[in-house]
């Protein structure tokens, strides 16, 4: 951990990295059923490192359930392969240790702990017992870098519970960064944010997605148009369409699904 590199240069782009051996998340035949109701139906999904993939779709399309299944929260069948490692069927904390991190629609930071403590805990699953029993001295380099990336250096000692809504979401993203997650699964990170906060979050996503496998659930089409490098459309638990924002918008099937609702062209 000499020079932390939470933020290598570069911009995300459709299809991800074109050099070396990019990491990937390969979802095959993912199916989640609750008491006979099929919430996610035989979904195939590939996200490559360096791609900023957005997952969109009407309410109840199964977007969050896909993330829940990948992270082990709900039982699922099929296969989820993270760069050669099958992760489906493992325990939640084991999947997290394999570099798959997520956020929640409702920011769930540790409200009674400071921002710094939140990040320190996120950075720590690999720590040995001896380190755990000692007092935290100083700030880990990665934690310090994450604080700067998410713009919360000044709030480092504030109780996380007192942060503004947007700051809590950024803290969650910061926790994913220090956790060393290679796969970032973000569930509506900008819900409830002001326009300024949305823009900042979008910039933040573009900066961190260049070197990671990023899947973002989002409803706001303006935000998707502005920041996505690729989009997967989900409807009724199935993948409806996939491609660039323009491709997806031009897709007749997608237009049909969105017809009558707020609409892809709306906003």
């Amino acid at each position: 951990m000499t020079t932390p590199t939470l933020l290598p240069d570069g911009e995300p782009r459709a299809g991800g990295l074109r050099h070396g051996r990019p990491k990937y998340l390969e979802v095959r035949g993912l199916t989640v059923a609750f008491d006979g109701f099929v919430a996610v139906d035989n979904v195939n999904l590939d996200v490559v490192q360096g791609d900023l993939r957005f997952l969109i779709g009407p309410n109840g399309a199964g977007k969050t359930t896909i993330i829940d299944a990948i992270t082990g929260l709900v039982p699922a069948t099929g296969s989820v392969n993270h760069t050669g490692t099958e992760i489906l069927g493992r325990k939640v904390h084991k999947i997290a240790r394999l570099g798959v991190g997520r956020t929640f629609q409702t920011a769930s930071v540790f409200e009674n702990l400071s921002v710094l403590q939140n990040l320190d805990i996120a950075a720590g699953p690999g720590r040995k017992a001896r380190e755990l029993l000692r007092r935290r001295k100083g700030v880990d380099a990665a934690v310090q870098e994450a604080l700067e990336i998410i713009g919360l250096e000044r709030a480092a000692d504030k109780q996380a519970g007192t942060l503004a809504h947007g700051q809590k979401q950024w803290l969650e993203i910061g926790m994913l960064l220090v956790q060393n997650s290679e796969v970032l699964l973000l569930d509506e990170p900008i819900a409830g944010m002001s326009q300024d906060e949305r823009d900042e979050t979008g910039q933040l996503l573009r900066r961190i997605a260049a070197s990671r496998i990023t899947l973002v659930i989002e409803h706001d089409m303006d935000f998707v148009r502005e920041f996505a490098t690729s989009v997967t459309v989900l409807a009724a638990g199935k993948v409806l369409s996939e491609g660039s924002v323009a491709q997806v918008q031009a897709d007749k099937k997608v237009q049909d699904v969105y017809l009558g609702t707020a609409g892809m062209e709306g906003h």
Partner: protein, 386 residues
């Protein structure tokens, strides 16, 4: 002032004051009888330190600490009985066994003839029982009220088991009439002072250990587990391990306290380890302030002192008073008496805010009015039951 108290020197000074109060002032000021009484309360306070960790910091409502207290106590009592029997009887068989049993020492008593085995067992047996229990319970994600009921049931079962073993554990009479402690005469006042001093030193050590744990990374993690157990999982930790470790530490503290209780008080019986004493341990912690370092200790000491003084004047009233106090604290002061200064300053602040802002403004509700309970509701969805 408050920054000094939190600094390293402040903490050392605090411990020094505590040591002087407990080890110099109290023995000088109190009679032999009252000192023994204080020694007994200190044993309860040691249990309270463990409960403060497990419940206050870890969110585990340990309603059955009497089990671990009892394990430590009975192990020590068995050793003292055996030692007395060899020293004074010659036969090597404790008196009550000849009265109620076959007059032979059962096999599982034998290891406790050895002082070394006894001292090890006082620590290891409660620790191991808590380890097995903790893994079984927490890996299965039993928590909240279910964990509390389970630990309480265990305390009840333990007491019932002891009562049923008249010939080997003394039944409901328990074990009593100890005359020596590792070769020291228990009637000698100077030895009583020594026992009291050991208890006081153990309390200080338990406090030091608890403080180190609370301020370590482990302590931060424990609070995280208490507030958002499911979220911790997504960071790559297994909350069951963290909870089990804490539970074991609390159990070991209770076991040591039990072992000290026996020579100081001179008796251990099922009435000291069952459901009611288990709840009593908890009440002191709740009243004092479960999430703080000193709250549980001061709470346990004051409840025990109040019980002794009030129970002798109004014997039937005490239980109701205790229950009422518990309800009031849980209902209106979830942080315990330790949160009183904070509540007062917050009220003051609110009053000044009201005065400074226009009367038309909506009343300000502090975001964290109940810091320990308000955040226990997880925002992370519970894992679907399988």
């Amino acid at each position: 002032m408050s920054t000094f108290l939190r600094s390293r020197w402040g903490v050392l000074a605090g411990f020094a004051v505590g040591a002087v109060l407990l080890l110099v002032a109290a023995p000088a000021a109190l009679s032999v009888f009252n000192l023994a009484l204080l020694g007994k309360f200190i044993c309860f306070a040691i249990v309270a330190v463990g409960i403060g960790l497990a419940w206050g910091r870890g969110g585990m409502l340990t309603l059955g600490q009497g089990v671990f207290f009892g394990l430590g106590a009975y192990i020590m009592a068995m050793h003292l009985k055996l030692a007395d029997a060899s020293l004074f009887g010659g036969s090597g068989v404790p008196d009550f066994m000849s009265l109620y049993g076959s007059g032979e020492v059962p096999g599982w008593w034998e290891p406790f003839r050895s002082p070394v085995v006894t001292l090890l067992a006082v620590v290891l047996v409660p620790g191991l029982v808590a380890l097995v229990l903790g893994l079984a319970v927490f890996k299965r994600r039993v928590k909240g009220a279910y964990f509390a009921i389970l630990s309480q049931a265990l305390a009840a079962a333990f007491a019932v088991f002891l009562i049923g073993q008249q010939a080997t554990t003394g039944g409901s009479n328990g074990l009593s009439g100890f005359r020596s402690f590792f070769g020291f005469d228990l009637k000698d006042p100077s030895n009583k002072l020594m026992l009291y001093s050991i208890a006081a030193v153990v309390l200080l050590l338990a406090l030091a250990a608890a403080r180190q744990l609370m301020h370590s990374r482990f302590g931060e993690l424990l609070v995280a587990v208490r507030d958002q157990e499911e979220r911790v999982r997504f960071l790559g930790y297994d909350p069951a391990t963290i909870k089990t470790v804490t539970y074991v530490i609390a159990a070991v503290m209770a076991g040591i306290a039990g072992a000290l209780f026996v020579p100081i008080v001179g008796i251990i019986s099922p009435a000291d380890v069952g459901v009611i004493p288990s709840i009593a341990f908890l009440i002191g912690v709740a009243i004092g302030g479960r999430a703080t370092l000193l709250g549980p200790v001061l709470g346990a000491l004051s409840v025990a002192i109040a019980q002794t003084s009030l129970a002798s004047t109004f014997p039937s009233f005490w239980v109701y008073f205790q229950g009422l106090l518990f309800v009031l604290v849980i209902g209106f002061m979830p942080g315990g008496l330790a949160s009183l200064p904070r509540l007062v300053s917050r009220l003051k602040q609110r009053n000044t805010e009201k005065r400074s802002t226009a009367p038309a403004s909506a009343p300000q509700v502090p975001a964290s009015a109940a810091p320990t309970t308000a955040t226990t509701a997880t925002t992370v969805p519970e894992e679907a039951s399988r």
